[in-house]
Symmetry: C2
Subunit: 224 residues, 2 copies
Amino acid sequence: MWQLYQFPLCPFSRKVRLLLGEKGVGYDLVRERPWERRDEFVDMNPAAQVPVMVDAERGGVPLIDSMAICEYFEETVEKAQMISGTAANRAEIRRLVAWFDHQFHRDVVGPLLYERMEKRLVHAAAPDAKVLREAMKAAIAHLDYTDYLLGHHNWIAGSTMSLADLAAAAHISVADYLGGIDWKGHEETARWYSGMKSRPSFRPLLAERMELLTPPKHYDDVNF
Amino acid sequence: MWQLYQFPLCPFSRKVRLLLGEKGVGYDLVRERPWERRDEFVDMNPAAQVPVMVDAERGGVPLIDSMAICEYFEETVEKAQMISGTAANRAEIRRLVAWFDHQFHRDVVGPLLYERMEKRLVHAAAPDAKVLREAMKAAIAHLDYTDYLLGHHNWIAGSTMSLADLAAAAHISVADYLGGIDWKGHEETARWYSGMKSRPSFRPLLAERMELLTPPKHYDDVNF
């Protein structure tokens, strides 16, 4: 059985978990606080980041980096292909996964996680209101972009669901948990996200809680 | 003919150019200064980052994000496969590409580019000596890790050359151009890098210069 090292609010681990859920791959969760830089964990992954996946039956060599993990399961599990279509389609899927993992994370999820989670859990400090305001402003601009994408086709990267939808749902859900998303005025994205929330791959994630941090009431409601 | 939007010291564009060179794919260079956020460029890539590739003959839909571009050419051009082997081998190659693109870039190349290039070209300001010292200290620690990898096998990710070597050479070469690499005590990495420098795919990159910025004497010398 695969073991997945993660913590509940890690958007990169959520992306992987959504993919594993869609593909029907089983795994055990291992709770890791990467900011503690536990020796055994850093030995396994010198980058000291989650997600990491290990399967003792397969020699125990860890899979590291969320995109490398997704490509691995895309190559080895045929069910629910999430990087599919022509080479150009696949490039567009990967572009949008990278856009969420880098731009959306840098501007929105990263600052929210630092201010509302890490400062609380690790430093027992108050969040910086200015940084929070900037992150929420960036979230509005970025959801304007997802509205634009979803105004052109049913899913983030085209006419079928792909890894881009899973990456988008992973990042948006963490920002939403941390109170960073204003859903007013983002009808296209809200409609799409309601559909994502109702998927069996997403329900278990939405039921989990991070210690000390309570999400807004609408967070796990499909009809928000 | 493909057009590649880039600037000479962009490590992500260098990774793509090394791959195109190894695969024998021709392209024209288009000089882009992404920090100027030129309207036509942001329309093409909302993330306002290079590299971007466009081929008018193929409908002109841009390829965006360096890893998406590399996967595209890996899928469409059979020559010189750079993400090859078993699924586990391929995961290890992608892990190390991501390690250079994220960790090595965040700790070494990004700060050097900002302090020594962007501050000079855009802000006409002096670099922050403390930030430079930190970046060079991080480079030493990270080259200890590449020494470790290259002490175990001939190439960065295993027994054959892969995209991980191209990513490593791309990032290290930009750091080296900016005077950020101390080669003393990194014999394994220096030997491997000397081999990379002598490749026909790498020679044209090493001959290019960024305006106002002169690299150290050893920069384009194979026997440094």
